[in-house]
């Protein structure tokens, strides 16, 4: 709501309070100030002049040469407008004057004497748009005859005066008017408010009014006028409309808009002679009915729409927009001003359904003062008498302004206790009365009857807020609650931090991406066709919630490659999305049910497991000096996942290790991809992008991505998990031996390492892979894998004999899987 400060001051006694202070008062007391506008700001040296002569420009058809005077001095200038006569008063920007910036953010424009086709123009005559007094740029401003000749225009019209734009809170529809804002300020500042007196009607019978839909309309009032001059409104009306962002149309329409801004009650003006009957019926529309609205659109109506009809047809879409056929035109003689109280949710529904939002619908759907229609209609009639020379006719109404709002009983002690500050009952009562409430005392309780315009005050909590607001939030002290609770992170929550730590310590940076995706995605963990689709996606090409973290991470990789980085490693820890019942649930439910979310009716929501995603591309160390040639490999990602599994899995239980199985997937390198299994269930994936896929995405190889469902590992981390137990440290020194096993290529390292472990038996403390060899010494199709074993025994010092025995045993185990021990 745009609030011109001068208009505000005419309603509430602000005692010359500076604008900055008004703004502070507003924003500290529940009137949120969006910005301060100053339409016309920058205008200086524009004066009221009289046109004393005009003649065609000797050298240009569309221009004329004009002489103006301020009573003493005559000035000659060139003008492109034709909407004035000799004798009219106009706004002359003299040489040296400034007018507001003609583009947003620009500087005020200074006028100089300028030759136009051989005639010197000493300044210019201003249009409304040039001075930001409205949209009109068809002609120049013609001022009323009583404007003081020679006066500075800023003394005649409030050009450049401040307008405060207030963001109206959704429960405060009453703030959609100057009166509403003024009333609020008067209550806050405890100062006086002056509401315009309006005429009281004394005759009726201009139209027959019938409300057929009483659940949609509580009050309907009309007042007829005759002989209204339909034409441009006076400048003071046009300027206030302009300040509030509304276009001036003609006297009648402008007056209805003016009253709407002033009092918050939208009005409509019918050409009374176009109404058949004349009678008006307020009813629900029927299927198939249509109406051509003021914007010349044909609207298909529905039975949920409220309409106003005359004896034969629909003439207005209630509360949203009037009909074109009964619109006030230049030929109109008799005007019927209509104001009504419509049901907010009906107006909201119609406005949404037709995607038609008007100043009227905006106010009706937030609720207008149910006792405001008669006053607004009367105010409009009074203004039409004033600005359009109209004569008042007959007043009619149906329905009524309604009974008082229900009362709310509040315990003032409880209000004080809720706020944490003692506000005496009398003080509370005073605050509420300032807001227009009627307050009665009932044995210590306050019985509060809110004023008609405060539909939001229905419960004690609402009243408590009003007390707090008028008392001042700033007077509430700061204390800490004495609630006795124990806080802290759960084991699961601590584990989630460990997951991040594992990825970070391996050199992966954390990223956050937007989890939206398109039709084609590179699949990560347990692929499926299941997609969670969005009704109103943020972008048309990403209509789904991401079923994997891979695409988001590749987007980040792409960005960094584009930026010229030689390599990048990133991770994201977030939820991925699949519809309920998706095959991914097979991977999750093997470990528990904690990942499932349900709605209020115990229906399962989309599956959205927490997932760790990794991506690495290119050089590992970047510009490092000792490992400049090293690049990221799938092993780096596998290492992070193993670390995560190790940190989160139950201790000393080898069945919780991640197992890998080679896999071929679309988009991935057939020899560098593996699924990760936990206790036989697929929970993860690591793969290098296929060269063709990497090339398609314009990413230099290697590009490796991986994903791990974390829910299975979190699942068992309930708070009573048995803590890890210390193991006795062997005091005898360890013995280190190396063994190399040669085997056909299809025997995996995992099998060879298992053979070595079996051979070493209980003596094995730790085992490392350290070399791989292919070549003459092992023959074609074979490779040799070298491992280092550290052996120890709790009860004795190991000898060379022990080493020999282990080597022999490893040799025997190797033979079982088709490998041989190299000596």
């Amino acid at each position: 709501m745009k609030v011109p400060v001068s208009w505000l001051r005419s309603f509430v006694d602000l005692d010359g309070m500076p604008v900055d202070e008004i703004i502070d008062v507003m924003s500290l007391n529940g009137l949120e100030v969006e910005e301060i506008l100053r339409p016309g700001h920058g205008t200086a040296g524009v004066r009221v002049k009289r046109v004393i002569e005009r003649e065609p420009h000797p050298d240009a058809d569309k221009l004329q040469v004009v002489q103006v005077t301020d009573g003493d001095t005559e000035t000659e200038l060139v003008c492109g407008a034709w909407n004035f006569e000799v004798g009219d008063l106009v706004a002359h920007a003299e040489v040296g004057a400034t007018i507001p910036p003609q583009q947003a953010g620009g500087e005020p424009f200074e006028l100089a004497a300028r030759k136009i086709r051989g005639v010197t123009s000493n300044g210019m005559l201003c249009s409304a748009r040039e001075l930001q007094l409205g949209e009109d740029h068809e002609g120049i401003i013609v001022l009323p005859d009583d404007a003081p000749l020679g006066a500075d225009l800023t003394d005649v019209l409030p050009v450049g005066e401040p307008v405060i734009d207030v963001a109206v809170l959704s429960d405060r529809g009453d703030h959609h008017s100057i009166l509403g804002i003024a009333r609020e300020l008067a209550a806050i500042l405890d100062t006086s408010l002056s509401v315009p007196e309006v005429p009281v009607p004394d005759t009726d019978g201009a139209v027959d009014l019938t409300i057929h839909a009483s659940d949609g309309c509580s009050h309907f009032a009309t007042w007829a006028v005759e002989g209204a001059r339909i034409g441009p409104s006076p400048w003071w009306v046009r300027q206030r409309l302009a300040q509030c962002g509304i276009r001036a149309i003609n006297t009648v329409v402008d007056v209805t808009n003016y009253v709407m801004l002033e009092l918050g009650q939208p009005l409509h003006a019918f050409d009374l002679d176009q109404l058949e009957g004349p009678e008006l019926h307020i009813r629900w529309a029927e299927d198939g009915e249509t109406l051509v609205t003021l914007d010349d659109q044909t609207r298909e109506l529905a039975p949920t729409d409220l309409v106003i009809a005359d004896a034969s047809r629909i003439v207005s879409l209630a509360g949203v927009m009037g009909g074109a056929e009964t619109e006030v035109s230049a030929a109109t003689d008799r005007v019927l001003i209509e104001g009504a109280i419509w049901d907010p949710s009906t107006i909201r529904r119609t406005s949404r359904r037709l995607n038609l939002v008007s100043e009227a619908s905006l106010r009706f759907e937030r609720g207008v003062d149910p006792a405001g229609a008669r006053r607004a209609v009367a105010r409009a009639v009074e203004l039409l008498e004033d600005v359009a020379g109209a004569t008042r006719g007959k007043f009619d109404e149906a329905g009524g302004e309604g009974a008082d709002r229900g009362s709310v009983t509040v315990d003032p002690g409880r209000v004080s206790r809720l706020l944490g500050v003692e506000v005496p009952a009398d003080t509370q009562r005073g605050y509420l009365e300032r807001l227009g409430c009627a307050v009665a005392d009932d044995d210590g309780s306050l019985v509060v009857t809110p004023p008609s315009w405060r539909g939001d005050l229905v419960r004690p909590a609402d009243v408590a807020e009003e007390v707090a607001r008028l008392h001042g939030y700033e007077r509430i002290p700061a204390t800490l609650p004495d609630t006795r609770v124990v806080g802290g992170l759960t084991r699961q929550q601590r584990a989630e931090r460990e997951i991040r730590a594992a990825a970070l310590s391996s050199g992966f940076h954390e990223v956050t991406t937007r989890p939206f995706s398109g039709d084609r995605v590179l699949e990560g963990v347990t692929p499926s066709d299941g997609r969670v689709s969005l009704v109103n996606p943020v972008a048309k090409d990403t209509p789904y919630m991401s079923p994997t973290l891979v695409e988001g991470l590749l987007g980040v990789v792409r960005r960094n490659v584009g930026q010229g980085r030689p390599g990048v490693a990133v991770f994201e820890y977030a939820r991925i999305f699949r519809p309920a019942g998706d095959p991914i649930e097979e991977s999750l439910k093997a470990f528990g049910e904690g990942w499932r979310w349900h709605d209020h009716d115990e229906r399962q929501l989309p599956t959205q497991p927490r997932t760790l995603g990794l991506a690495a591309q290119g050089a590992k160390a970047g510009q490092g000096w000792l490992d400049a040639d090293e690049v990221w490999s799938p092993y780096d990602l596998l290492a992070v996942f193993d670390e995560v599994a190790e940190r989160l899995a139950p201790p000393d239980d080898p069945t919780w290790q991640l197992e890998r199985a080679a896999v071929e997937r679309e988009g991935y390198h057939p020899g560098r991809s593996a699924v990760l299994r936990l206790r036989g269930t697929d929970v993860g994936f690591v793969g290098a992008l296929h060269p063709v896929e990497a090339d398609r995405r314009d990413l230099p190889e290697p590009v490796i991505v991986g994903e791990l469902l974390v829910e299975p590992l979190l699942e068992h981390l309930v708070d009573d998990v048995a803590p890890v137990q210390a193991r006795p440290l062997v005091t005898h020194p360890a013995l280190t031996i190396d063994v190399a096993l040669a085997a056909p290529e299809d025997v995996t390292y995992e099998d060879l390492a298992a053979a070595a472990r079996a051979g070493a038996g209980d003596l094995l403390d730790e085992l490392w892979f350290f070399d791989e060899y292919r070549g003459e010494q092992v023959g074609p199709g074979q490779r040799s894998v070298a491992m280092r074993l550290r052996l120890q025994a709790p009860d004795r010092q190991l000898t060379d004999d022990d080493a020999d025995a282990v080597i022999a045993a490893v040799g025997r185990e190797a033979e079982v899987i088709g490998a041989t021990l190299r000596r």
Partner: protein
């Protein structure tokens, strides 16, 4: 017969001039080894008369002693010199960049979320979590936002195409509902999490952002408690000495409701008038709008099975992006979502 005395002079000279431990060893062999004048003298002993033998024996002992003394001295000198030489060779230019394995950095938003969460954990709060694709009633209805409430439109919710009423949660508040439905007071939880709005991406808007929701419900919780708690939060996250200011506002799920400002840490003053040139952070007002808060609306308590006649509570919601941008001078919210490593490494 060899004149050991003469040989001794020669041997000692050779020891003293030996240039390396290897050469010294050669000298030792030459003058005391199997074919040395010493060995010759020893082997000649058995042919001598006892008197002569005693005399020679003394000479041999004297020779051995003198040689050993000289040898030990020289050996120590050469060993020290060689160690010195090795140390010189092993000298490193320690101004070279260290061989640093750079760990990754947690995302700025994670850092902010963890920091806020830790501050509240210190005040006795637990941490709660909920789904991001959330049931409409939890996101709206139970929070006192009925279907035709204007706030529902204002939130620009993204809706999931589902038979049931499912939305991408536009705030973390549904987790309040889930907690209250599961647990009786006293309740003190914070909820860090990702939320969604149908916003177009630009420098200040993101369809995805993060909030931390806080909820405390007990008997006799006051608005003063809310203020004190938010002040503790402001000081933990923005720095000591910060103050908070509450301004009346409207949220469907709280009553009374407040917008909460934190005092500006850059200009530390507030020059009075709003002037963008006066302070980059607060435009000279001295206050920065940081979060929304209020006393839990009785409707919400009641809808979640808590008696509003015996219990009260407060709730607040902080935008993590806003905190991060304000505190670290991030001018474009997109930087938080682009994953440019230069940005990530900075924090």
């Amino acid at each position: 017969m060899t004149d050991l005395a003469a040989v001794a002079e020669e041997a000692l000279a050779a020891v003293r001039t030996a240039d390396s431990l290897d050469e010294l060893d050669e000298v030792r062999v030459r003058y005391t080894g199997k074919r040395s004048p010493l060995a010759e003298a020893q082997s000649s002993m058995r042919d001598l008369e006892p008197d002569q033998r005693r005399e020679l024996g003394q000479a041999i002992n004297e020779y051995k002693e003198r040689f050993q003394d000289a040898y030990d001295t020289r050996h120590a000198e050469l060993e020290a010199a060689e160690l010195e030489e090795r140390l010189e060779e092993e000298r490193l230019d320690l101004s070279l960049p260290p061989r640093r394995v750079r760990p990754g950095r947690p995302h700025l938003i994670t850092q902010v979320l963890d920091e806020i969460v830790d501050a509240f954990v210190g005040l006795g709060y637990r941490v709660a979590d909920g789904p991001e694709a959330e049931a409409g009633p939890f996101a709206f209805d139970l929070l006192n936002i009925p279907p035709d409430h204007p706030a529902r439109q204002e939130m620009d919710t993204v809706y999931v195409d589902d038979d049931a009423d499912v939305v991408l949660r536009p705030h973390t508040s549904p987790v309040q509902v889930r907690v209250m439905l599961e647990q009786q007071p006293p309740i003190a939880v914070v909820v860090p999490g990702r939320v969604f709005r149908a916003d177009t991406i630009d420098a200040t808007h993101s369809p995805v952002f993060h909030q931390v929701e806080g909820l405390l419900v007990d008997e006799g919780v006051t608005m003063a408690d809310l203020r004190g708690t938010l002040q503790a939060f402001a000081r933990a996250v923005f720095g000591p000495g910060r103050d908070v200011r509450l301004r009346p506002s409207m949220f469907p799920f709280t009553e009374p409701s407040a917008e909460v400002d934190v005092s500006c840490g850059l200009c530390r003053a507030g020059v009075g008038a709003a002037d963008p040139d006066a302070c980059r952070v607060c435009s000279g007002t001295g206050w920065i709008e940081v979060l929304g808060a209020g006393m839990v609306d009785p409707f919400v308590l009641d809808a979640c099975g808590i008696d509003p006649d015996t219990h009260s509570g407060f709730a607040f919601g902080v935008g993590a992006e806003r905190v991060a941008m304000l505190r670290h001078g991030v001018e474009d919210i997109r930087h938080l979502y682009d994953g440019d490593v230069r940005f990530l490494q900075r924090f």
